[in-house]
Symmetry: C2
Subunit: 230 residues, 2 copies
Amino acid sequence: MGKYNVKQEVTDKFSLRGRVFHKIREDILSGKYKDNEELKEVAIGDELGVSRTPVREAFRQLELEGLIHIIPNKGAYVTGITVKDVKDIYMMRSLLEGLCAKWATENITKEQLEEMEENVYLAEFHAAKGNTQQLAELDNRFHEIMYEACNSKMLEKQLRDFHDYVLRVRKKTLSQNQRSTASNKEHKFIFEAIKSGDPAKAEEEATKHVLSAYENIVKNGLHEAYGSDE
Amino acid sequence: MGKYNVKQEVTDKFSLRGRVFHKIREDILSGKYKDNEELKEVAIGDELGVSRTPVREAFRQLELEGLIHIIPNKGAYVTGITVKDVKDIYMMRSLLEGLCAKWATENITKEQLEEMEENVYLAEFHAAKGNTQQLAELDNRFHEIMYEACNSKMLEKQLRDFHDYVLRVRKKTLSQNQRSTASNKEHKFIFEAIKSGDPAKAEEEATKHVLSAYENIVKNGLHEAYGSDE
DNA sequence: CTACGTATAATTGTATACACTTATACGTAG
DNA sequence: CTACGTATAAGTGTATACAATTATACGTAG
């Protein structure tokens, strides 16, 4: 990966296909399309004012993301995302973010470490002022820095995917002030472990960080946004 | 997921698009297309005797799998898979297979447990006879059973993806007899932990299992199949 | 000889047309 | 009334046509 290419979006948001992809994705995650609902190429194309071609290409991508499943010659059906899915992802993430923090400790550059430090202290400031928007961005960025610092293209991609997947949930939980201050504190612990060059500690703190986000989610239900499945 | 739908392939192998997808994927993983090589829609279409449409759809999927990256209005470029990528995946897998074994212990059905037991003992038999083909299939199936048993759609999909990704490597390492017998023994340990209802033990054994496969790979180089990147 | 700009070619993006498969409606036999 | 079969409609799969963008070649000014 690299210095340029600041944020390589897998799907360009400006092409028709990209817009269609993001729109459908959003509509599935937001619950507009219900579980098992059939998505028809022409209907969606008409709605967005495009032909079937970009819609079909978007479908192929959504299928690989697991948001829809396509039965050949039949149709595309929404797979949706349940409460259990989100929880499972958090458990998987807790392990992989741990690994990421460990590797980041061993590979982080001076610049990345500095940005991380800045991020942590800036977040403290915005938390005090109760600015949720900035906090969400800083939180995003903190994890992004770790992903970049771990020096593993595969792990980076994986965690980005997860991160994206549960983005809606994260936005919601971070808007609760108590969680965001706790989250900041945990970021600080991770940062300090990385700075002191202690991979095992960094791993432990990052794992704990995701787990406590998970606990928070479990406590607060998240029933409205997703179908309950258990 | 379910009783029916024994093996839901994400991309149907019989449609043109599916065939194109698998062909290009294979060609990238086998090294036919070099790193950063540009893939042109018409060229590939002509080679496979199809039009651009299925090729384009296959490209979109390959992009999401991370095997190629597409620059809008420019082209599709091979991302390839390096030795480090494979190693990183093994590290990630070791954690997630551990989690999978833990969850499988808590959710496995009687039938799945029976099939697993049968699998382990059958593998012992074929190992003694040195039948590598059957061994590879049994190994695949052992992990498949765990994926199904863990009762997590998300984790199942993730591990299948990883599994697929490094399939070529696994085939190769399993053809070495000493590794395959060691692998069998480890499967047996995992199975016994699951059967005895000890999630922590199952997790530990599954993690160790993937790690030892990783060690084996590191020892044996795997230089020929993939570009070295470190 | 180099640098720049324009014309041309090559390639991707999107829309449309046609082929093929699957679903639906309706009529008829029993 | 039900079961079956055929005709029709709807929808996906693929190919092709056209538009937009990017790369290349070549000529000209300096």
